[in-house]
């Protein structure tokens, strides 16, 4: 996905609502640890321990909406990675655990901090990444989200950290 395209892109999708403290154990459980060498297979179980039907229901572009402290726990990058592979367009939550947040940016999955109390499962959301706005079309409500730090925008726009490093032959975080 090219830089300008992502920035100008408006993301549209359905919301899947989850609660507080969705741990990486719920997203990519240890009992399926052996599938880490087969990410496509692991992605068929994404968030299974929080919502057993999620992987079957989610369609490309849909959003995962959490509460407080989304992604707490392990450093496993497989958690945001299989959400992305499953087609999740972005994750919205009131707050994120640090490593999950950073991993999401690294794999190119947008993570947005906003007041998710006003979003329910099934709501159609239109997200304007550039303007920092979530339009809840179902409820006819607009929510603001905090902009990402500029270095993270840079990494996200390069398509994730591996692409950023490959493209720049190292870090190049400041020529924004």
């Amino acid at each position: 996905m090219s830089v300008s395209k992502r920035n100008s892109e408006i993301l549209v999708g359905r919301s899947f609502k989850f609660g507080d403290d969705i741990s990486t154990d719920l997203i990519a459980p240890g009992r399926l640890f052996h599938l880490r060498s087969n990410l496509v297979e692991l992605a068929k179980h994404v968030l299974e321990d929080a919502d057993p039907g999620f992987a079957k229901k989610v369609k490309p572009g849909d959003f995962v909406v959490g509460g407080r402290n989304f992604g707490l726990g392990s450093s496993r990058e497989h958690a945001p990675l299989i959400m992305k592979i499953a087609g999740v367009g972005a994750v919205l939550a009131k707050s994120f655990a640090r490593i999950f947040f950073r991993n999401s940016i690294n794999v190119g999955l947008p993570v947005l901090i906003c007041d998710t109390d006003k979003i329910n499962s099934g709501d159609i959301l239109e997200i304007d990444l550039k303007r920092g706005e979530v339009n809840n079309k179902t409820k006819n409500l607009k929510l603001k989200f905090n902009p990402l730090p500029e270095v993270m925008i840079k990494i996200l726009n390069d398509g994730g950290l591996a692409n950023h490093i490959a493209k720049n032959k190292g870090f190049n975080l400041w020529d924004i």
Binding site: D21, S23, D25, L26, P29, G30, R31, F33, H34, L35, R36, S37, N38, D49, R68, N69, L72, G73, S74, S75, R76, E77, H78, L81, S95, F96, A97, R98, I99, R102, N103, N106, V107, P149, V151, G160, L161, A162, I165, A166, G170, F171, L173
Partner: protein, 418 residues
Amino acid sequence: MNKTISEKIISEHTGSDLKAGDIAVVNVDIVMSQDGTGPLAVSQIKKMGFSGVKNPKRSIFFIDHASPSPRKEFSNSHIVLREFASQVGAVVSDVGEGICHQILLESYTCPGDIIIGGDSHTCTSGALGAFATGMGSTDIAVGYALAKTWFMVPQTIKVNFMRKINKGVFAKDLIVYLIGKITSDGATYKALEFGGEVGSRLSMDDRFTISNMAVEAGAKTGIFSSDDITREYLKKQGRENCFKEISADKGAKYEKIIDIDCSVIEPMVSQPHTVDNALPVSSLEKIIINQVFIGTCTNGRFSDLKIAADILKGKKVAGGVRLIVVPASKDIYLKALREGVLETLIDSGAVVQSPGCGPCVGIHQGILGDGEVCLSTQNRNFKGRMGNTSSFIYICSPATAAWSSVKGYIADPREVLG
């Protein structure tokens, strides 16, 4: 400028005068991953087009999570790590050596280091005065390839452990109590700096337990000043030459200072399914347990096994309870063996398994059955953590774990230690 420990270490690694909130690319001293996160790091290194690692002797791959391997998929991942490490000259810590964080403490971490690890409990090395933090596989891949990462210098919360620790109360109880107070996201993005009159007298093993669990409050790292106790530990490990004194400047700017009166802290448990769901053991109803696990990067050290053995000596594990013990490293295993600690534990009914993460990650060596309750000295009790979403995990100190294994329910170790 008067600096916190984190500001100091990160500034030293960049050559510029940095303060909380600044973003910098920094040189890292040690980069590591384990068998759960290493294979993805290896494939990312290759994807980025790197053919080697920048600093092979300080690039470590640990095989500790599924170790020895219970399935061919893990065995194949282990081959990936061994082959890559051999190709680039990196270090492999293989089956039986022990848990990554423990091996770093024993053989690698020096005060003042910056350490990044593909494991969230990398913050354990903060106990030796290092700035150590967990990251995902791609960040770690970049760390291996360039010996660099980027950081936002964190704000720091200073935690002063004050007054005195009561009998039967251990470092684990202090940190569980603290997390109960500040909650599981109370320190997200922040550094925790531990001190106070009790904190500064804690043994290294106690500091390891406390720093290990900093991430359970969301923290980026959990750091102690290095002092004579640190020096003594490094000396015992034959590494006194890497000692240097690291402490915060007087007048350093903290986001918050939390004073904890340790004299009011009782033996604690975290109830299912979050670490901050913390209560004193004394306030619990009778909770029958099926499995007790003593081990992990939190509490699998010699002093942990020793206190458990002291409590279990001449007693038997209750009928219906499985007691699983996993030393955190080979050195600990050998010391516990030579000093008779393992014999006491086995005599009482414990099952001792090879050094590694054991059943904590839900892969092997003690997966819980439906509806079963485990009392564990590990750091996490999330739903499904030990391999079954229909089971329940309580976390506690090794003393509480040992005494409870005798009683068959979660019991207050002051009954036997008081």
